[in-house]
Symmetry: none
Subunit: 224 residues, 2 copies
Amino acid sequence: MKEGPDISQTAALVGDPARANMLVALMDGRALTASELSAAAGITQQTASSHLARLEAGRFVIVRKQGRHKYFALTEPAGELLEGLFRFSAETQQKRLLGPKDPALRKARICYDHMAGDYGVQMFENLKARRFICEDGDAVDVTPSGENWLEGLGIDIGGLRKLRRPLCRSCLDWSERRSHLAGALGASLLDLLLDKGYARRMPESRVIAFTSTGERRFAELFGV
Amino acid sequence: MKEGPDISQTAALVGDPARANMLVALMDGRALTASELSAAAGITQQTASSHLARLEAGRFVIVRKQGRHKYFALTEPAGELLEGLFRFSAETQQKRLLGPKDPALRKARICYDHMAGDYGVQMFENLKARRFICEDGDAVDVTPSGENWLEGLGIDIGGLRKLRRPLCRSCLDWSERRSHLAGALGASLLDLLLDKGYARRMPESRVIAFTSTGERRFAELFGV
DNA sequence: GGAATGCTTCGATTAATATCGAACCATGAA
DNA sequence: TTCATGGTTCGATATTAATCGAAGCATTCC
């Protein structure tokens, strides 16, 4: 019914987390390739391709072809719009943009649907050290022994493998500057911690607060 | 995944057409009830209720309860954000809006319940030039002589003033980049044109099509 | 000429959510 | 009281669109 430009269409483009992640990745002004952007968003190339086509159609990005690469860069108006979105979101979600100053946030916090912060990194490195997961370049996978161990915790690796979503993914932790575990397994591990009552989400925040027994159990499971 | 405020969540709130329509309806600064907003968005009350709860949680609107009504108003940051979205969308969708694709739409179209486009702007400016309405900042009102003239057309200004809805409101026309007349009077004038058979709505479109006699009458009434 | 890399298209599946009907609650009016 | 109105909650449905696997194009490297 309304007149004027269709703002809902515009907003919907940013409203998808995958696209938003790609846009944020472009916010430093550099031009990135489609592959780099798909990695930044944690999606496959073919999914990213379709997203990027829509972002281009919506004039969020401009494309430059160079050899067999395609470089995407934010347009000027898109940058301004994203700034505005950050400003609004920072106000309404009262989160600081320049990194978690709150020690609780640095310790353990939600990153989309898995755990980030010190504990997230610790868990990831512990799993790697015990060879329950192995990292090969960008790819991360669960080893047979890891599958055993995780199923002992009640995580159905076979079931998770059937999902469209990648089982394992490494995610650069903003506060720790090291990677933590994302993907279906990352989400499942967080669910496990919450389900068992070892930790709980604090309302109106991304902080994950551990109980005292939760701290102990976490140290037993993933401690150095 | 990156840290900082979650802009995709924010954008997703505006990304739904129903919610966007409600937000746009609130952009003139008035507070509207849930029912009015559901009508503006063309959805049922129960659907609107759930949308409005989410908009409130996202700090897009603030609520004031008054009797059995609930009045919703845009927050200041939300207004700024929507402005930015309009600006971006106007720039990027300019081709579609200003292109010769659909001249009929640019000539005269429905804007919720009143007329926008070239004819809408023309009517508004004609009424102002003849001092039938006067504009004082944001406020628009009918003058005594305007009241006389409009009642001669069969529009009951006294009755319209009793409505809770503002009698006159100016609405920025996105194709003309000038204002046209909204509010109860704007709606009544459109009704008049349709009732008299001067024009009719085209199905499945916002286009208002004038008959040949309607064109003539419109020029007599509001021509330069 | 292959072979490898970067990206796209197509089809199918799945997860998310917008939507409405019906019932319900709260307030104000008769 | 009873009725009417405005708003919410719940459950079920349906549509959207995000996603991936597989296959295909295009370019560059060997």
